[in-house]
């Protein structure tokens, strides 16, 4: 016999996946607007962010309703909690996409300062990670989630490289500083998206195994981070 809560949990899952898909699209289109210098597309990404904000509120409302009226326990509870925590993460990823689009509009009005070779790679990895994280959420696959978490290091590496190159460019050619600064922000947005996807994966592990794995950075990783910050 189907429980009353089952259909509500299905609706909640569908709404989250729809938000996830829309967010993925926003990131992809924001990067496209930058690399193809398409300001109209950038403007669309900015405008569509309002739709994503509405989706977030809708999921919040349904999550609260299920918690209050169905009083879920065990896996059901972990599911609602995970959705309620993943939702604002997706919304923030979409905010980063909108910020990239805003930067694109500014940069598209300036002469191209450098080719964006590394940016599409960063965006590609972030997009793959996001898609894999949402798939792992649907299939409740903790193992894949853990693998996706590791991929964030790939984004971090490219970010370090891009950061160094842009600083060098500003020193070498002070006229490029305003554009390079915007590109620095773009790189940072992509790096943050990687971090957020990591957070989603940590929640996937919580959903599947009831294990809290966040804030458990290895000493090796902390040392590596300290070294990077020193540079």
């Amino acid at each position: 016999m189907e429980r009353i809560i089952d259909s509500q949990l299905d609706v909640l899952r569908d709404k989250l996946l729809l938000l996830g898909g829309t967010t993925e699209k926003a990131v992809h289109r924001a990067m496209q607007s930058l690399t193809q210098r398409d300001s109209d597309l950038a403007q669309q990404v900015i405008d569509d962010d309002k739709v994503i904000n509405k989706m977030e509120v809708d999921i919040d409302r349904l999550s609260v309703e299920i918690l209050a009226l169905q009083q879920p326990a065990a896996h059901d509870l972990r599911f609602v909690i995970s959705v309620a925590k993943i939702t604002p993460i997706l919304e923030r990823i979409a905010d980063h996409a909108a910020n990239i689009a805003e930067a694109a509009i500014i940069l598209n009005n300036e002469p191209e300062v450098r080719s964006y070779v590394d940016f599409p790679k960063m965006a590609e990895i972030a997009g793959e990670m996001l898609q894999a994280a949402l798939d792992a959420f649907t299939s409740e696959d903790a193992e894949t989630s853990r693998k996706v978490i590791k991929r964030d290091e790939e984004i971090d590496k490219i970010y370090d490289k891009v950061f160094g190159e842009l600083i060098e460019m500003m020193i070498r050619d002070p006229d490029s500083t305003p554009s390079a600064a915007h590109l620095l922000f773009v790189a940072k947005h992509l790096e943050r998206i990687g971090d957020y996807v990591k957070d989603i994966c940590e929640l996937n592990v919580y959903l599947t195994e009831a294990a809290f794995i966040k804030h458990k950075k290895s000493i090796k990783k902390l040392k590596k981070q300290a070294k990077r910050e020193k540079k």
Binding site: R3, I5, Q71, P72, A73, A74, H75, D76, L77, R78, A210
Partner: protein, 252 residues
Amino acid sequence: MKSKISIKNLDFHYGPNQALFDINLKIKEREVMAFIGPSGCGKSTFIRTINRMNDTIPIAKVSGEVLIDGKDIYAPKTDVVSLRRKVGMVFQKSNPFPKSVFENVAYGIRINRMHSGKSDLEDRVEKALVDAALWDEVKDRLNSSAFGLSGGQQQRLCIARALAVQPEVILMDEPASALDPIATQKIEELVVELKKEYTIAIVTHNMQQAARVSDKTAFFMLGKLIEVNPTEIMFTNPEDQLTEDYITGRFG
């Protein structure tokens, strides 16, 4: 914290029907353990073995050990009256005596000869009523009939009656199932307060109640103890699929 109650290999039969199967369980001192499970799963039968309430059923047969403070309460020399003073019980339906509020609480103190005079008796009755969070509501009507109290007050009077003889363990068999939400909340607050001094075993059909008041929860099904774990584990990540299915309403 040491174990107040230890159950070892407990079997229970009603005539030819086995109601409990090889139960092994420990309840620590000043711990609240909630017992949940579908109707007829044996949870009430189980807590009644802790103060030998099932002795009154002629066809009942118990085997295994129930140790309180390390002593087997089913040993032949056990004084059952003294055991029931040490292990008090509160039932689903409040059952005050047809006497005044004062006499309901004073009764156990008198028959156990625990008081040294009238004033001591009054002090003990007052303390029991205060501990049962009822004093403020009845202090001006101590000589009125207990039947004039509301359902929730009558239940707290029964708790006061159990507390008056200074028990160490309190067994509660669905103490709030017949009460409205406000009275239920008072009983739950009382349980949380009482655990500072007493070890409490509470049977409940209300899983949210188990979640709110207990330190550990035990899940029974068909006479078997399926799982016992800290309550927060039971309600967020139970070990056994049967527990998960029960608490998420997939059966029961």
